[in-house]
Symmetry: C2
Subunit: 250 residues, 2 copies
C-alpha cells in the first residue's frame, strides 16, 4: 500500500483523492490546504491540516497547486523523504533529487464523474528509482502511463489547449449561433459526441469533413454572410483556410 499526502483542495486534488481512494493500492493519508474551509470536504474521509509543518510521512507528496506556488511549497517540504511530485502540465521538474512530475492529462471539473482508468498519466522523476515508484503508483489508477520529459509535457499542454480549451470555445460559438435563431444547444450534442468518438479510432486528419475540405466555395461564402459576429467570421475564415492548406499538402 502506498501512502500519499495531497497538497491542494481544488478540482485536481479532489479527483486525484477519489482516484487513489478507489484504487485499493494507494491511500491518501492526509490533505493539506492553507484555507481551513477548503478542507471541509475531506475532513470526514482522511486527516487534514493547514500547516506544512504538520505534514506526516508518506511515499509521495502530490502538489495539486497553482503553478506559481509549486516551487515555494516544494522548497518548504524538501526535507521530507517521500517523492515530491507536482501535477502541472507546464511547470518543469524541480531540481532536488526527490522532485518529480505526476501529470494527469485530463480536464477536471468539480461535480463531473470521470472514469479514472482512462486518464493518461505523464510521469517524470530525477532518479530511475523514483520513476519506478511513480509508475507503480500511477498504474494503480490507470493503465495509461507514459514517461514524458518536461519539454514534451509542455508540448502536450499546448496540444491540450487546442483539443480541449479551444474545442470547448467552438462548442460555445455553436451554442450562441443556435440561440440567436431560437434553437436549443441540445440539437448539437449528438454531433459533438460523434465527432470526438470518431477520432478515438481514426486519425483526425483522415476523417475531416465539411465545406473547407470539399472546397465548397458557395457554402463557405454563404456561411460567412450568415455570421453576424465579427470574431466568429474571422475564426471561420482562418480555420477554413487552415483546413484547405493542410489538405493541399497531404
Amino acid at each position: 500500500m502506498f501512502s500519499i499526502v495531497i497538497l491542494g483542495a481544488g478540482n485536481v486534488a479532489t479527483h486525484m483523492f477519489q482516484a487513489f481512494q478507489a484504487s485499493g493500492n494507494c491511500s491518501v493519508v492526509q490533505v493539506y490546504n492553507h484555507r481551513p474551509e477548503s478542507l471541509k470536504a475531506f475532513e470526514k474521509l482522511t486527516a487534514t491540516t493547514t500547516e506544512l509543518s504538520e505534514l506526516i510521512e508518506a511515499d509521495m507528496y502530490l502538489l495539486c497547486l497553482k503553478d506559481d506556488v509549486i516551487e515555494s511549497i516544494a522548497e518548504q517540504i524538501q526535507t521530507k523523504s517521500g517523492i515530491i511530485a507536482h501535477t502541472s502540465g507546464s511547470q518543469s521538474i524541480l531540481r532536488s533529487s526527490n522532485s518529480a512530475v505526476f501529470y494527469p492529462l485530463q480536464t477536471f471539473s468539480k461535480g463531473s464523474k470521470l472514469n479514472y482508468s482512462e486518464i493518461p498519466f505523464c510521469l517524470e522523476a530525477n532518479s530511475e528509482e523514483n520513476l519506478q515508484i511513480l509508475k507503480t503508483i500511477a498504474s494503480c489508477i490507470s493503465p495509461e502511463v507514459f514517461e514524458i520529459s518536461s519539454a514534451q509535457r509542455q508540448t502536450l499542454h499546448l496540444a491540450a489547449v487546442f483539443v480541449c480549451n479551444f474545442t470547448n470555445h467552438l462548442y460555445a460559438i455553436g451554442e450562441s449561433i443556435c440561440k440567436e435563431d431560437d434553437m436549443p444547444f441540445d440539437i448539437l450534442k449528438a454531433l459533438i459526441q460523434e465527432t470526438s468518438a470518431k477520432v478515438q479510432i481514426n486519425p483526425p486528419s483522415e476523417v475531416q469533413t465539411g465545406p473547407a475540405i470539399r472546397k465548397d466555395e458557395s457554402t463557405i461564402k454563404r456561411h460567412l454572410s450568415q455570421l453576424k459576429d465579427q470574431n466568429h467570421k474571422e475564426i471561420y475564415q482562418l480555420l477554413t483556410q487552415s483546413i484547405k492548406q493542410k489538405h493541399d499538402k497531404l
Copy 2:
C-alpha cells in the same frame, strides 16, 4: 409499415438505410444510384436500380445526394405521389407541394457505427399532412425530432461546421503538435472524450478552462513561442482573444 426509396449510395444513404432497416416500422424498398458499382453493397439487401424511370411507388423518396444535383433529380421524379425529401443541411426546401426536408444532424463516415436513436432529425414540409408523416417516419429511428425551417437549418449547418468540422481540425492540429515531439495522438484521446462529454450536461460557456479564460499571460506567451507553424500561431492568438472577449462580456 412505411416504404422508403433511397436515392444515393454514399455515407448518408448507407447509414439511413441501416437505420430504417433496424427500425422495424420502415422498410427501404429500393435504392437508386446512377453508378451500378455503387449499388453492390445494397443488392443482397433490397431492390436496386440505376434508372430514375424504374423507381417504384413508396411513401417517401429520400434524396441522399450532393447539394448540386438535388433539384434536378427531384424535378425528374416529381410525378411520384410519395414525399420527396432531401437530407441536405444547406439546401432550401423545394417548391413543389410534395417536397420536404429530412435532415439528420450528424457526421457520417463509412465504417463508423452509430447509435441511430441519438440522431436529431430536422424536418420541414410544404404541408401539415406531410410534416406529420415525416415526424412519424423519423420517430421510428430516433426520439430527437425537430421541426426546423430552412433558415434555421442553414443556421444549424453553420453551427455544425464550428462544433464538428472545425473541432476535428483542432484535433488534427493536436495530432501534429504531438507528432513533432515524438508523442502518440493516443495520449490526447481521453481528454478529447471528456471535453465533449462535459458539454452533454453543462453549457459550454460555463465549463471553459485554460490559460485564455484565466488570463494567464505568461503561459499564453510561452505557448506562442513554442508554436512553429505560423497558421497554428494565428489560430492560437485568434481563439485566445475570442475566449477573453466572450468572458469579459459575461
